[in-house]
Symmetry: D4
Subunit: 220 residues, 8 copies
Amino acid sequence: MDKAFIIDKDRKQRLGFEEVIYGASKSTALLSELLEDYSEKNKNVLITKLQQEKAIVLLNVYRTAFYDDESGIFMLYPINKIENHNAKVGIVSAGSSDIGVANEAYYTLEYMGVKSHVIHDVGVAGLHRLLSKIELLKTFDILIIVAGFEGALPTVVGGLLPQPIIAVPTSVGYGSAKHGETALHAMLTSCANGITVVNIDNGYGAAMSAFRMLKLVENQ
Amino acid sequence: MDKAFIIDKDRKQRLGFEEVIYGASKSTALLSELLEDYSEKNKNVLITKLQQEKAIVLLNVYRTAFYDDESGIFMLYPINKIENHNAKVGIVSAGSSDIGVANEAYYTLEYMGVKSHVIHDVGVAGLHRLLSKIELLKTFDILIIVAGFEGALPTVVGGLLPQPIIAVPTSVGYGSAKHGETALHAMLTSCANGITVVNIDNGYGAAMSAFRMLKLVENQ
Amino acid sequence: MDKAFIIDKDRKQRLGFEEVIYGASKSTALLSELLEDYSEKNKNVLITKLQQEKAIVLLNVYRTAFYDDESGIFMLYPINKIENHNAKVGIVSAGSSDIGVANEAYYTLEYMGVKSHVIHDVGVAGLHRLLSKIELLKTFDILIIVAGFEGALPTVVGGLLPQPIIAVPTSVGYGSAKHGETALHAMLTSCANGITVVNIDNGYGAAMSAFRMLKLVENQ
Amino acid sequence: MDKAFIIDKDRKQRLGFEEVIYGASKSTALLSELLEDYSEKNKNVLITKLQQEKAIVLLNVYRTAFYDDESGIFMLYPINKIENHNAKVGIVSAGSSDIGVANEAYYTLEYMGVKSHVIHDVGVAGLHRLLSKIELLKTFDILIIVAGFEGALPTVVGGLLPQPIIAVPTSVGYGSAKHGETALHAMLTSCANGITVVNIDNGYGAAMSAFRMLKLVENQ
Amino acid sequence: MDKAFIIDKDRKQRLGFEEVIYGASKSTALLSELLEDYSEKNKNVLITKLQQEKAIVLLNVYRTAFYDDESGIFMLYPINKIENHNAKVGIVSAGSSDIGVANEAYYTLEYMGVKSHVIHDVGVAGLHRLLSKIELLKTFDILIIVAGFEGALPTVVGGLLPQPIIAVPTSVGYGSAKHGETALHAMLTSCANGITVVNIDNGYGAAMSAFRMLKLVENQ
Amino acid sequence: MDKAFIIDKDRKQRLGFEEVIYGASKSTALLSELLEDYSEKNKNVLITKLQQEKAIVLLNVYRTAFYDDESGIFMLYPINKIENHNAKVGIVSAGSSDIGVANEAYYTLEYMGVKSHVIHDVGVAGLHRLLSKIELLKTFDILIIVAGFEGALPTVVGGLLPQPIIAVPTSVGYGSAKHGETALHAMLTSCANGITVVNIDNGYGAAMSAFRMLKLVENQ
Amino acid sequence: MDKAFIIDKDRKQRLGFEEVIYGASKSTALLSELLEDYSEKNKNVLITKLQQEKAIVLLNVYRTAFYDDESGIFMLYPINKIENHNAKVGIVSAGSSDIGVANEAYYTLEYMGVKSHVIHDVGVAGLHRLLSKIELLKTFDILIIVAGFEGALPTVVGGLLPQPIIAVPTSVGYGSAKHGETALHAMLTSCANGITVVNIDNGYGAAMSAFRMLKLVENQ
Amino acid sequence: MDKAFIIDKDRKQRLGFEEVIYGASKSTALLSELLEDYSEKNKNVLITKLQQEKAIVLLNVYRTAFYDDESGIFMLYPINKIENHNAKVGIVSAGSSDIGVANEAYYTLEYMGVKSHVIHDVGVAGLHRLLSKIELLKTFDILIIVAGFEGALPTVVGGLLPQPIIAVPTSVGYGSAKHGETALHAMLTSCANGITVVNIDNGYGAAMSAFRMLKLVENQ
């Protein structure tokens, strides 16, 4: 059998970003092997959805690496904070239970060199909390809206604001929440116009979608 | 084989209301037989979800009967409008496509002797339309909230108002709306507190639930 | 990133009750932070579906707090029993396996200042047990009916008694019980009239719905 | 290509009954061909779930054939009523909408030479109607219980009576009834003991199961 | 709150058998309480689907109790083997992975005083193994057929033998086996005639159904 | 009852576009009433998913209106073609069966004043057809990718090109295509980065999402 | 907009066969256009799942074309029967209701120049019918097994015979048959070894899979 | 009760291969018993999906046995590598997370005496990686394509290459990946021609299907 992975060498040139590693289904051994490759080349790499027990093993070897245990985001080298300009992406979460997914979007954008701002806990059952943030939300180019349970937040925001909106359903909830399926389908069938949706808990995908849009703006 | 139905004679005494007939799966022949029974006893009866082609046949026989073709509600005798007091139940619909289900609730309440008021098309994607109706909504004892697509309206109303809220998902929408399942599950997993839910398109059930609550108030 | 939560300050005024915290998806760290806020303000708070291992940590800090390990209900301060009047809400469970959900309703009502009474193990496969309790059930303003497996109990009670009935499906059962989905859908499609339903295992939601109804009665 | 069917010649000897034809998915042409085979051999045959438009064509050719349009049962030759003994099988339906499925069981048993008795409309939302029939139900060897919507009837009967109970879910209902799936799963997860279940709307299968049981009794 | 359970006192008289306890969702504390009740009355009781860790605790207290760890069956007192007559029920399993469910049926029948015989590993992918057992299978009054994966065994047996057949789908398999749902639906839609089905992994229910049938035979 | 609809008057100001009408679930009567309102104000309006039989009635009244029978798009007044600049949005379909959904996106963009270009039938089972179009695809700001069956096209395009990609699953296919659900879920779980998804058959939503992105570009 | 289709010109060279047209979702207009293209080039083409009403229109224009109304197979020019050698593929159907799917496989193979033989109605509920055909089945290189309802036939055949087996689930059945999903999943989770499966009702796909295998044999 | 298993003695003669044991649902005790039987007869045996904790126990007894912990494959005796001829089967995986399933196919083929070659990580989101392997892929008789997430790889390969293709969906992914269901259904509804599919994660089944095809080739 051949080696279990092939690095996608010209992805950066083709798409403007490097390959990213989905960590959840890979063994620690395979991940170590991959990290060694990147480390030798002095290249940074992003791993998503890395479980804590595997992160502990890897952090023991790569001691300068970064790991966020709410989201499972791992980077071989931490990113210097981007301070000198305004956040382009607003990440809005419906409840504080959605923090892991919001963080996944936040750190992915950081890794891509995009500054973002997270606004927590503005779910639609307390509408005034959302309404008090509308002026702030208007300042972002793109909105990533993270919500579990019934997933109504992107619909309400989408009816109030004109920016591109990327809705991220989360698996927060129980029973009829169906591990995020209800929020997913609610967002897909939103009566607000022009909302797009990514997979359940996919903060990473939302960030990459925002990145594609920002690239479009830059290229103008 | 025996006769295909048995009238539940003491339901009125037990529950405070008469039996109601589910029309969708019964043949015109069987329905005619049932209506004859009621007609002979000079008793009114409510049939729900009656298809138009069957209604036409029955209306031909029972010429004074009432039929609403948006909802499929049929009554042997029409009800006199209740004018002398305020509406106790507010029926709120998210979109004008939900009219059939809202009407089913409205006419069922009318049949039960309860005055209600229908407010259409205040879906959450145009929040200001809802907000402009809040003062009106505060005047009702009970709110029946009817919504299809992502079914977010009861969540938003439930976060704003303290009354009992009966959420009715409708089968309006396509694809991920799943014939009303998405709205149903979204309402059940609402992050607003104390919302109860009835079956998809079940305007009748929402009205009966409101009736039970109003009976409770009357009995105090 | 901002703080992960925003207390909904005027909810009490708007809805008549304080915010409640869903404990299942929040880290112990976040919950501690939240409790500190409430503790400093000398305000009580209710946490639902708190797992035992997290409760142990929190109880170690907040030693006067209350925790029920059948339901996962946690309160910062225990509630004084309400003794001087009759129970307004009857909580009826189909089987002794439903005890956790029944308790969630019971303690939520206690927290809201409403006295309730729990009647266990009157499932419809032993009808006489239910029938022997009918006179008692008639004394309550509202009935919360908790059932897993096939979830038939609310249908039978709904055909016998005229009060508002809030049906709570539970995830008790296996195979075709589908973690409560079968009971949920059976309750939604009940042939009894005017039954409303809350999410699977949502004893808390049922209690809040009862609270809304009792508020309506009080306001008359 | 060979002929599209092969008659199972020794089924009678093996199983005690002849082959039966599922009519719903066969073309009128194929059914005509099959009937001709049986007609030539002067053998009776049962066709199930035959649609009305196909029945009309076949009845035009086989003018003495029997067709019941509620159930779609077709027999090449009608059966003489069995009058001289008591009914061995009680067929109990929850609502008058279940008549088609009840009839399918009834006529299948008639075809197999077994006398049965149909009791309609004793659904659990009007419990007294059921309780008033209990003495009658005790007289049957076997009970076939037919119910749509939430499908609670077999559970209640199974808790009251000791006979073998064959539960038949029907596709009557809408929304959460899911074309009979809810009733099916409710019956499978019944908290009553020893209830067995057949496919949705499968009155035929229930009758054949009863036939197998009665054969067992006869062989003692 | 009242006591969490009520013993169904006259079930034996009504149905011919005592109540049985579903062990999976009950706490060890509640089960201990229940067992104490039975123990004090010197009555035996059957607990189903009892997890090993809870069984260990209970066996420590009730040292003469019986527990089968393949099926999770627990009895307060073991049953004396029935030796003096032939087995009335044949329990046939498709694969050796189905042993837990077959045992559940076996021990339940033993508890009910019915002798049965288990035949393992005669799945339809090795048809000759089944065919070599046909003469043996003919000797039983009733057949309980246990199968996971595609669940084809009851169909093949049902086409070969005339007895009552109770099909039990098991959760053995992965992927498209869907935790037993595929076997369940395959059995329900079997092209063999008159097969009845119980819930996934419900060996207990199959045994109780067989018991009802044998009672019928005895009563003739 | 009030009028069944309320025009969202300031949506243009808030979001940059007017309200659009979902035609599928509205009666011809209600649609006529709505069109009259718009016609009187000399305002154009877009109706989506309008069935042919209803369109015929409306076209009879509004004779200058535009209707596309592949997509069900209806506009009160046709739009003048935009000729003087390049298409900003590329609409790519996997197969010629997806034409209706591609047209829905095309005409919606036309209505919004955005020029687009449709490229049909470049599904991944004939990869060379897609590869021969890559240079053309690079010229668009945004790509809308429409695909039914297994929905693989957005994944392949997303791995080759850096623009924002809006994936639209269609209900084309049978069996395991599940009316578009398989394509939907495949797109959501794409291994390509940063693809966003809209509801099944929702060409309209994809166009509106593209519109939001183009607005963002314009505002820079 | 460009033309709605692009003929895949070098597919024959790449894969050894021409493109085939899925007819179900294409308008008669589009199909006419496609056929004209092929007709002008004097090339034959296969259309699958063509509805009868569309076939009638096309047959009126292309009077020498072939159409089979059981399967919906349409060919621009009929194929000369292949008589001079033995059938390489055996197509086995469980019931005569599966004829349409069996025909789809048969005519596709005919179009590809492969002779096949159809054996109908050997479902596993009448095992002797299957067993009597085993010697015949041994003579084929490849077996295509077509079955609806519980889909058990491929499992039984796969346990008896060593050839490659392509299982085709059909949508024949009702209720728990779930439009072919149960048969599909049963075949995928078959306890027989090395069975492969195609989509529900996909006789065409089964034939193409057989064609790939026969090509492999030829190339040796 | 009889012994829990019966070895299928003449399977080798009938089908050309020995029985294989599904390890996931069997207890270590039962597996030990089975291995003892094989060991005594000096016969090798293959166990699939054996969990690590059970493997450790068995390896302790059968010290020369082989176990691969990525796939859970266990063989009583390891197989000598086949070196002297080219690989007949190409096993292609979309991502390095699919390694376990690819290994299951690889070792099963090895056990069957068939040489194969594994090519990892050529998913369609990096198309050039796949295209660079096309010449290599052309050298194999049969292709087994393993993919999780959206499962698009078999479709793309199937459009490029003419060999028999066996698609294996894997449970790699989250949310909309639905534990492999999305990949499964995507493969079944592939727009590429003649692809066959096996159960989710069923590398073993794919290998056995390839074995049947290779047998066919050998027999020519």
